[in-house]
Amino acid sequence: MSSSPLHYPTTDPPQSDLLAPPSSRRLPRTPPGSNGPLFIPSSTPRTQRRHDIHSSNVMTSPTAVSARRTAPLPRTPTADADDAPQSSLPAAQPEPATFNAIWGTNVSIVETASIFGDFLRNFKPKWRAQYDDANDIPRTNFTSADPNVPSYPDDLRKMRLTGETGLNLDVVNLLSYPPAEKLWWQLQKYPQEVIPAMDQALKDVMITLAEDDNERPEIIEEVERAVYKIRPMGFPAGNMRDLNPSNTDHLITIKGLVIRATPIIPDMTQAFFKCLKCSHTHRAEIDRGRIAEPPACTRDRCAEPGGMVLIHNRSAFANRQVVRLQETPDVVPDGQTPHTVSLCVYDELVDIVKPGDRITATGIFRALPVRVNPRQRTIKSLFRTFVDVLHIQRGDGNRLGVDPSTRQPGERMPGVGGTAMDVDDEDDFPILEDEEAGTSRKADLERRLKDLSRRPDIYEYLAKSLAPGIWGLDDVKKGILLQLFGGTNKSISRGGGGGGPRYRGDINVLLVGDPGTSKSQILQYVHKIAPRGVYTSGKGSSAVGLTAYVTRDPDSKQLVLESGALVLSDGGVCCIDEFDKMSDATRSVLHEVMEQQTVSIAKAGIITTLNARTSILAAANPIGSKYLPNLSIAQNIDLPPTLISRFDLLYLVVDQIDETADRRLARHLVGLYLEDTPANAGQEVLDMETLAAYITYARSHLHPAITEEASNELVSAYVALRKVGEEPGSSERRITATTRQLESMIRLSEAHARMRFSELVELSDVQEATRLMREAIRTSATDPTTGRIDLDIVNVGAGAQQRRMRSDLKRELLNLLGANGAGGVRWAEVLKSLNTQSTLPVDASEFSEVVKSLEAEGLIKTVGDHQRRVIRLVPGAQ
C-alpha cells in the first residue's frame, strides 16, 4: 500500500531522499490485482523490498551500475554451443569473503550472485532437455523455440515490457546447468540469504540487458528502481506431515488443498513516527516481525522522551494473507485425518488462490515464538509454524483444482518464466501416497498396468477379479467390467443446433433375477471400486435428495420413507438396488439421465439442467419375487418398457436348481470362508486397488477410435442381428435389433478396446461386444411362447406373438359384439364365449388390456362396474 496523500513533512535527514514529490502521491489508485503502480510506485523511489524474505543481511552491494561498467561479463560465444556449459565467471570478480559468507558456512553471497547472473545469461533449454532425458522424465517445454539460445533473456525482456517483477525459476534448470548446480542445495538450505543475492543478480542482469537493448533512459531508470523477485519452484514436493523443526528456515515445497484464506491483512513494513514536540519524523523498518519504537525523539536537540507517536497513514504496509492448506486425500495415509499448515502469502501472491484450489506452494518454513503477551518479551515455550510462500502453482482443473470459470479472464498467475506452468498436469491415481517418491511410483504403477494389459487373458483375468467372492455369472461380470471402462463420449460437430448431437459413452446394465442371487453384492462391489460411485436402494433412502418424508403407508399403517429426487454424480457409476421399487418421480429423472445425460432441477422458479454423465448399474427383482420362465421379461418385472430399453445390457440371473452347479457354488462359498481371504483355490485375482487403478488409468488415458475393419464388422453384426427377426415365408417381422443396439455395440467395442489399453477398436473388440450383446439379448428378449428373440418384448413390452394374439382377440371381440346388436354383452359372458371359441384359454388380464385399447380407440365402451360391467359397441364407429 502506498502512502496516503496526507502530508506529513519528513525531517528525517538520512531518508529525506525518499520523500515523494507531491504530484506522484496524488496518483489515482489502481485496483488491486493489476500490476500497476500500487506495488511499483513508479515515481516514488522508496526502498522497495520483498516481504516474503525477512533477511537479516540485505544485500546492499554490489551496485550493478559500477560493476557493469568496469567488468562486463563475457557472454558465452556461440561457437561452443555444442559443448557442455562452461563456467564463464569472470576471474576478476572481487570477493570480500569476510563480508559476504553466510554465517557458519563457506557459502559466499557474492559468488552465489555471480553464478546466478551467469545462469540467467547463459542457460539454454538444450541442457534441460539433456537432463530430462538422463533422468527419464518427460521433456519440459520452453517458450523459445531454439534450444541453443539462452532462454532467460527472453523472459527478462518480457518482464521489462510488462512491468512484471517476478521471475519463476524452475530449480531443475539450475541442476541441469553444471556451474549453477550448487545453487540448488544452497537455495534449499539458506533461502534467507541466497534469494536476496539472486534477486540482486536478477536486477543486475535486467539492467545490463536493458542497456544492451538500447532502451530509453526512463525505462532503464524504471528497471533500476524496480524490485525484482526470484520465485523458485520445482523442488520435489514433500508431505506436510514430514515437516518438523529441523526444516525451520529451509525452502520447502508442499502440495495441498486450500481450505481457507483470510482477507488481506495490512502488514506494517515501515513505521512512521513523529515527535509530538518538534514534529521531527522518523522511520523504522520492521526487523524480524518487530518494529523498534524510538524511546525518545531521534533528533539530538529535542530528545524528548516518549514523544514519538506512530502515524499510521504514513507508514508503509505490505499485503499479507494467511492461507490454510490441507493435505489432499491422495497423500493422507489410511485411517488418518488430514493435516493442515498455515501459509503466509505476500504482495502479488495475495488472493490468487481460493478455497478449494489444489496448489503446490514453495516457501520458507518458519517457527516463531508465541508471546505470552504482546507487550512483553517473555515467550511461551511454544512456537507457531507457518510457511512464507515464494511461489504458488495451481493444480489441474480436471479434478478438485481450479474451476476456470470462476476466475476473471484477466486474472493470472503473477511472474514470468519459461517453464512456469499455471496448471500442473498430474494424473489422478487412486493410490499415490508419498509425493516424495510420487513421480517414480506413478511411473512404476503405470508400467505395471501396462504390463498387465499385455496379458493375453487380460479380459478373463479382469472379469475374474471383479467381485471374486461371487461365483459364476461370467458374462454378467464381463458386461459390468466393460461398463466400468465405458465407451467414449462423442459429439458430432456437424449437424444442427449447438454443434450437433452428443452421444453418450456410458453403458447401462440391468440385472434382473431371483432374490438371493448376489445381485446386491455385485452392486456393492462395483460401488466400492467405481470412480465416484453412488449406491442407492430404489426403495429406501435415495442417494442425496433435497427432502424426503416419513409418512404412514395408507395400507399397512406403517412408517415408510418417501425419498426425494435422486442426485447423481457426474462421471461415475450409479448403482441402484431394488430398481423396480423406485418411486415414479425418481424413475422419470432416470429417463432423462439415461438418454440425455442431464438432470433438470426445478427449484424456486428456476429450472437448471445439470450434467449427469453417469452410467447406471441397476438390479431389479421379478414381480412375484420369483422369475417365471414362461413369461416374458416385461411381464416379469414391474418396469415401464421405455426405461428397460435404455439399458445396453440386460441380464437375467435365474436361480436354477442344478446339482453340479449347486455343488460347485457351495464349494466356492465354503472355500471362501475357509480362508477368510478372497484367494480362491488356484485362482489368482487382481486386488481391488490395482483393478481400480487400471480402470481409472484406462478411462483417463485412452480414447479408442474405430478402425475400418471394426466398423465393417459392426455393420455386418448389426445386419445379422436384425436378420434374425426375418422369418422365411412370413411377412411378419420380429424386431431383434434397433439402432439402440447398434449404439450399444459401438460403446461395448470401445470399452473392450480400452480394457486392452488399445487406441484402436479392432475386429476382436467388436466380436466380443457382439457376443455379449447377443448373450444378453438371448436371455432377456426371448419370447417365452415361441422361443424366438424379439426385442419388442423389451422395447414395447409385448412380443410379436403376443401382439398377434391381441389383434385376433380384438377382431373376435368386435365380431361377438356386432352379432349381439346394440344391447351389449356382459363382461363375463364375453370372456366365456371367447374361451369356447379359442383353442388357448384367454387370459383375463390380456382381455382387459384389449378392452381398454378398444375403448381408447373409441370403438366400444363399458358401462357399470365390477360384476355388472357391460360392453357395448359404439354405434356408427365402424
Binding site: N244, S518, G540, G545, A548, R663, A666, L669, V670, T677
Partner: protein, 535 residues
C-alpha cells in the same frame, strides 16, 4: 524400591520428570534415547502391572478436571476423537530444564524471554483430542461400585459442555481433553476411534496456545502424556475360566430373552450372535452383522421409555450405545464427523470398534426429513453395508473403517428406514417387558460376570473354522436341500455359514461341528418361516 518409586511418581511426578531430565542431560552416551522415550519407558516401568496402574487417579465423568490438583498424574481411558490438529513445536529445554510436559506453561517464571530461544532445542509434540469412551458401560468404569447413573449426571462438568460437540453421543456427560504426546508417533499414528489409556500430567490450558490470551479464557483440560497403552478393560483380570460354556450360553439366551425381548428366545439368540460376531474381512461378500427386529410393539408411552434391550446389552457388553432416531435428531445432528473451522465435530456414528449400537426407529414420527437427515440415514446405511464411515473435511470426505454391530428396532413389519442384512420379525410372548418403564433389575454381578466373560473372550482370527469333513457336509447339505425343493439361495448359504461361525464362537469351540451347523440352519429356517408368516 518399587513401591517408593511408585509413591514418588504419584506424589510429585513433576519433580521426578525434572530429575530424569537432569540425569539424561548428564549422560552423554552416544546411544542415549530421545528424552520423551526415556520418560515413557521410565513411567511405564513404574506402572507396569494393572494393580499399579489402577492406583493412578482416573480422569472420568465422576472425577473431571476440577477434582484433580493441577499437574497431578492421571490416567484417562479415552477414545481418540480428533487427530487433525497440527503438531506443536515447543522449546524442549529452558534454562537447563525440560520445557515439555507443560512445565513452562504452568510456571510463569520458567518462561524465557525471546532472546533465550535456542532454535536447536525445538522439538515437536503430537496433539489430539480425546474423549471418555462413548457408550462405556457403568460396570466397566466402576467395577467395584453398584450401578448408579444419577450420581454422574448431578455433576456435569462445565468444561465438558463447552466441548460437547466433540462427543458422539448427544446430551451425555463426558470428559474431553487435549492430549499432547511427546514421543515420536510417526510409525504408529493414532487414528480416530482408537481406544487408549493415556497417563500424564493434567493441566488446564488455553484451547489454542498460539492465540493471545483472551479474557473469557477458552481453557480446556490438557493432558501431557508421559506414557500410554492400548486400552484394555480391567474387568477381565483374574477370572477363572468357565467350566461349561455351552450351558452358560443357554442360560444367557434365556436371560436376555426374558429381560429384553419379551421371552423370544430366537430373537435373543440372533441378538447375541450379532453382538459377538468376530471381525471378518471386508472384501468378502459376507453378510456384515446387522440385525433388524421388525414388528417391535410400540411402547404405550412411546417417547419416554427406552427399550430394555439397550440396558440389558449394556449390562453384558463393555461398550454399548443407543441411538433413538427421531426427526429432530436426524435433521439437526450430524452422524458423520465433520470438520468445521478446522475443528472436527464428532458425529453420532463416531464410535469405537466393536461397539454395539441399538438403533431404535420406534421414536420416529411422521414429518419431513431434510437434506441433512437424508445424509444421516445414508451414512448409517453405508456403515451397515460397508462398515465405513465418512469423515467430512472441507472439499473432501475420507472413509474410515469402522466396526459397529447394529441392531435396529422397528415397529414396521418390514424394515422401514434403516435396512439391515438380517431381518427377524419379533414374536414376544410377554410384551410388557420390552420397555424399561422402571429401573432394570439386574441380577447380581456374580451371575453376570460369567456371562460377560463368555462374551468377551479374546477374538480368534478364525482361520480354518470349517474342517474338511464339515465343509463337505455343508456342501452336501446344500445340494440335498435344493434337490428336495427347499428354498435355499446362494445368499442363504452365505448367511448360514457366517452365522455358524458366530455360533461356533459362542459355544467356545474352535470348529463348527454338525450339531452347530444344524442348529444354525434350524435357527435361520425358523427366521425365514417367520418372514413368510409376516407377509
Amino acid at each position: 524400591m518399587v513401591s517408593a518409586a511408585l509413591s514418588d511418581a504419584l506424589t510429585d511426578p513433576t519433580h521426578l520428570l525434572q530429575q530424569l531430565y537432569v540425569n539424561w542431560k548428564q549422560s552423554s552416551a552416544p546411544d542415549r534415547p530421545p528424552f520423551p522415550d526415556l520418560v515413557a519407558r521410565h513411567f511405564a516401568g513404574i506402572f507396569q502391572t494393572p494393580e499399579t496402574l489402577s492406583q493412578i487417579p482416573a480422569l472420568n465423568v465422576k472425577q473431571p478436571l476440577e477434582r484433580h490438583a493441577p499437574r497431578s498424574l492421571v490416567a484417562f481411558d479415552a477414545m481418540v476423537q480428533d487427530t487433525s490438529y497440527s503438531p506443536e513445536v515447543y522449546l524442549s529445554e529452558i534454562r537447563e530444564q525440560s520445557g515439555g510436559w507443560g512445565l513452562a506453561e504452568s510456571n510463569e517464571d520458567a518462561l524465557p524471554p525471546d532472546e533465550l530461544a535456542n532454535y536447536d532445542n525445538l522439538d515437536e509434540r503430537t496433539v489430539l483430542w480425546a474423549v471418555s469412551i462413548p457408550g462405556e458401560s457403568d460396570w466397566v468404569q466402576h467395577p467395584d461400585q453398584s450401578v448408579n447413573r444419577t450420581d454422574a449426571i448431578q455433576h456435569p462438568s462445565l468444561l465438558s459442555k463447552r466441548y460437547q460437540h466433540k462427543f458422539p453421543l448427544p446430551d451425555t456427560p463426558h470428559v474431553g481433553a487435549k492430549v499432547k504426546i511427546y514421543t515420536d508417533l510417526s510409525d504408529q499414528p493414532f487414528s480416530p476411534t482408537d481406544l487408549v489409556t493415556f497417563v500424564g500430567f493434567l493441566t488446564n490450558e488455553m484451547y489454542d496456545l498460539t492465540d493471545e490470551p483472551i479474557a473469557d479464557g477458552a481453557l480446556c483440560p490438557t493432558l501431557h502424556v508421559v506414557f500410554w497403552k492400548k486400552y484394555s478393560p480391567h474387568y477381565l483380570i483374574s477370572q477363572p475360566p468357565l467350566s461349561d460354556p455351552a450351558a452358560s450360553v443357554e442360560e444367557l439366551i434365556q436371560w436376555v430373552a426374558d429381560a429384553a425381548l419379551g421371552g423370544d428366545k430366537d430373537a435373543a439368540e440372533w441378538v447375541l450372535l450379532i453382538c459377538i460376531s468376530p471381525l471378518i474381512s471386508r472384501d468378502l461378500p459376507i453378510i456384515l452383522p446387522s440385525l433388524s427386529l421388525t414388528g417391535f410393539p410400540a411402547s404405550p408411552d412411546r417417547l419416554h421409555d427406552p427399550p430394555s434391550l439397550g440396558a440389558v446389552l449394556a449390562a453384558l457388553f463393555p461398550i454399548c450405545s443407543s441411538l433413538p432416531l427421531s426427526l429432530e435428531l436426524l435433521n439437526e445432528r450430524s452422524f458423520c464427523p465433520e470438520s468445521k473451522n478446522e475443528d472436527l465435530h464428532s458425529g453420532a456414528l463416531q464410535l469405537p470398534h466393536d461397539n454395539i449400537l441399538v438403533v431404535s426407529e420406534l421414536t420416529i414420527q411422521e414429518g419431513t426429513l431434510r437434506e441433512k437427515g437424508l445424509r444421516n440415514i445414508e451414512s448409517l446405511q453405508t456403515v451397515l453395508q460397508t462398515q465405513t464411515l465418512n469423515y467430512i473435511f472441507p472439499f473432501s470426505a475420507y472413509p474410515f473403517p469402522t466396526r459397529l454391530r447394529v441392531i435396529v428396532l422397528t415397529e414396521s413389519k418390514r424394515t422401514a428406514i434403516v435396512k439391515c442384512n438380517i431381518v427377524l420379525p419379533l414374536r414376544p410372548i410377554n410384551p410388557q417387558k420390552l420397555y424399561l418403564s422402571s429401573e432394570l433389575i439386574l441380577p447380581d454381578a456374580a451371575i453376570l460376570q460369567p456371562f460377560r466373560q463368555l462374551l468377551i473372550r479374546e477374538q480368534s482370527t478364525g482361520a480354518n473354522f470349517l474342517s474338511e469333513a464339515m465343509s463337505q457336509h455343508v456342501e452336501n447339505d446344500f445340494v440335498r436341500d435344493r434337490q428336495a425343493g427347499i428354498k435355499v439361495s446362494q445368499d442363504d448359504l452365505a448367511l448360514r455359514i457366517t452365522i455358524a461361525r458366530y455360533a461356533e464362537f459362542a459355544m467356545g469351540r474352535s470348529q463348527v461341528n454338525v450339531e452347530i451347523w444344524e442348529r444354525t440352519k434350524a435357527l435361520d429356517q425358523r427366521r425365514q418361516a417367520r418372514l413368510i408368516d409376516g407377509k
